[in-house]
């Protein structure tokens, strides 16, 4: 057990815990905060995987923007109705998900695992490298993504605006 493994297990355990909280907590705000924690943990995992840029973006975009939006909407709507809970449906759903997780895990990990990470150089995952990829090989998708975001903005305004 080296240090990185310990860090991984701690992060993984916390991540699974917070994810479960997202799904199983009753209070929507608690769910949202658990999700913020989960996303933060995933960002940390990204950092351990030599992806600092993406990790920071993860916090910036997900935790900083998307989840705030979620909280904003939760507060805005302030839904008070209690969710009905049907034990059978929950049990079945969980069971199915366990099957899915099991089969996915077996399916994905039955190949030969890459235990020896490619010796990544210093710049791997740096803003420069990501930017270079984005603005050379992926410049078209990048621009399309910007159009997508614009469309989403307009769409959201149109959808959420009160008809007057």
């Amino acid at each position: 057990m080296d240090a990185s493994l310990i860090v991984f297990y701690v992060l993984a355990a916390l991540l699974v815990l917070t994810s479960l909280m997202v799904v199983f907590l009753r209070n929507v705000v608690h769910c949202a905060l658990a999700l913020v924690a989960a996303l933060f943990l995933i960002a940390v995992l990204f950092l351990t995987l030599n992806a600092p840029m993406v990790g920071i973006l993860q916090i910036l975009v997900y935790a900083g923007a998307i989840m705030v939006l979620f909280l904003f909407v939760i507060m805005f709507l302030n839904p008070v109705a209690q969710e009905p809970r049907r034990v059978l449906w929950w049990g079945l759903g969980s069971l199915a998900a366990v099957f899915l997780a099991g089969s996915l895990a077996v399916f994905m990990s039955n190949g030969e695992s890459l235990v020896d990470p490619v010796a990544a150089n210093e710049a791997f995952g740096s803003p420069e490298m990501l930017a270079k990829s984005l603005f050379t090989d992926f410049v078209l998708p990048f621009e399309i993504a910007s159009v997508l975001l614009l469309v989403a903005i307009v769409g959201a305004v149109v959808l959420a605006k009160r008809e007057s």
């Binding site: 905060l33 840029m53 916090i59 910036l60 923007a65 705030v68 909280l71 904003f72 507060m75 740096s126």
Partner: protein
């Protein structure tokens, strides 16, 4: 290994100590400043051992003690856990932002080179924005956990406001980032150590006698960006004129209506910590950070050719001192602002953010990009 960890811990402690104390001192400065502006004596009752003018000590020690000994009230219908979590997050996030702000150049101790910055991330400025974007949680959670409609409204207002100004703030610094070509704050500060004349392209070299002697600080290169950034940063601190989330006359006290005692102290201190952070960031990006004009690692190199050599330790102390002075200046500026300007209306805040700062920031970015390409 141990020493490395120790050094990092020492730096972190130093920064925390400085920021928290500065936040405390700011509380006193604010009182004195408001008194000054409102033409009254103000904050003159505290005395220790009969010594008047000990108000500073009072705010540093007596105020926290007072807060901590008061009843910690939790609304019965509120969410106890989150009610506690919220002020912690607010203060925590305000403090950790400072981790990547450099407060000096390298300190050479023997063969050990210590970077005077708690953490040197290659995504530095993005880290700041990421953390700053989390700042909204303190308000939102606190507002929701209080189960009070005034605080909830404050929370909604706060989240929308911080959301809006974060974007303007992020875009306004793009020009600076493009000029210095890095996201690392330490590099940005080092880049501001040169003089304008070194950056001038040949075509406008004739301007050298006029402005060539200026240090290449962000404020000289990006004056518009400085205005935009500083405005947005002030808005992020949620203080007058941007204190809509609290808005006493409308929302009693906004998101911290239901807070008292130690938790309120944390919000309170967090607010001042944010003021310090905003000042630190402004200084770092636009006012040369720890740079003293013409001060190189070995001493002063004046543009007229004179050289004054200084010992290393003196240089470092000068740099740290200069940084501190600058930060204090901008903290004071914000307090001045706080007492000079009335509160905006909510729609005015939104209009300013989306229709003024954001387009101007975009314009600044585009113009900067064009200029950079033209110069190259």
């Amino acid at each position: 290994m141990i020493i490395d960890v120790g050094i990092v811990a020492a730096k972190a402690f130093l920064v925390l100590f400085m920021v928290l104390n500065l936040a405390g001192i700011l509380g006193w400065i604010e009182r004195k400043g408001s008194a000054l502006i409102q033409d009254r004596i103000g904050a003159n009752r505290a005395s220790i051992f009969g010594l008047a003018g000990m108000g500073l000590v009072n705010t540093l020690i007596a105020d926290p003690l007072k807060f901590l000994t008061k009843e910690d009230f939790v609304p019965p219908q509120g969410d106890k856990f989150l009610h506690t979590l919220a002020p912690c997050m607010a203060l925590f996030i305000a403090l950790v932002t400072f981790a990547v702000i450099p407060f000096g150049d390298v300190l050479v101790l023997g063969d050990r080179v210590i970077n005077l910055q708690v953490a040197n991330l290659n995504v530095g400025i993005l880290y700041i924005f990421a953390i700053a974007s989390l700042g909204v949680y303190g308000i939102v959670i606190g507002a929701w956990a209080s189960n009070n409609k005034f605080s909830l409204l404050g929370g909604v207002r706060g989240s929308a406001q911080m959301f809006s100004y974060e974007i303007a703030m992020g875009l306004s610094v793009m020009g600076v980032l493009m000029i210095f070509g890095t996201l690392e704050l330490q590099e940005i500060v080092r880049g501001q150590g040169t003089l304008i004349r070194d950056l001038l392209p040949d075509s406008v070299r004739f301007l050298t006698p006029a402005i060539g002697w200026l240090p290449a600080w962000g404020v000289f290169l990006q004056p518009l960006a400085f205005l935009l950034f500083f405005t947005a940063a002030v808005a992020e601190t949620k203080r007058i004129p941007f204190d809509l989330p609290e808005g006493e006359s409308e929302l009693v006290a906004g998101y911290h209506v239901e807070y008292s005692g130690g938790k309120f102290l944390m919000f309170f201190a967090g607010e001042f910590a944010e003021v310090v952070t905003a000042a630190g960031l402004t200084v770092t990006l636009f006012f040369g950070g720890w740079q003293v004009p013409y001060l190189m690692r070995d001493g002063f190199h004046f543009p007229w050719g004179e050289v004054v050599l200084l010992p290393h330790l003196a240089v470092v102390l000068l740099q740290v001192g200069a940084f501190t002075v600058k930060v204090v200046f901008f903290c004071w500026l914000q307090i001045l602002l706080r007492w000079s300007v009335p509160r905006f209306r909510y729609d005015q805040v939104m209009r300013l953010g989306w229709k003024m700062l954001l387009p101007l920031a975009l314009l600044n970015m585009v113009v900067t990009a064009i200029v950079i390409i033209a110069v190259q």
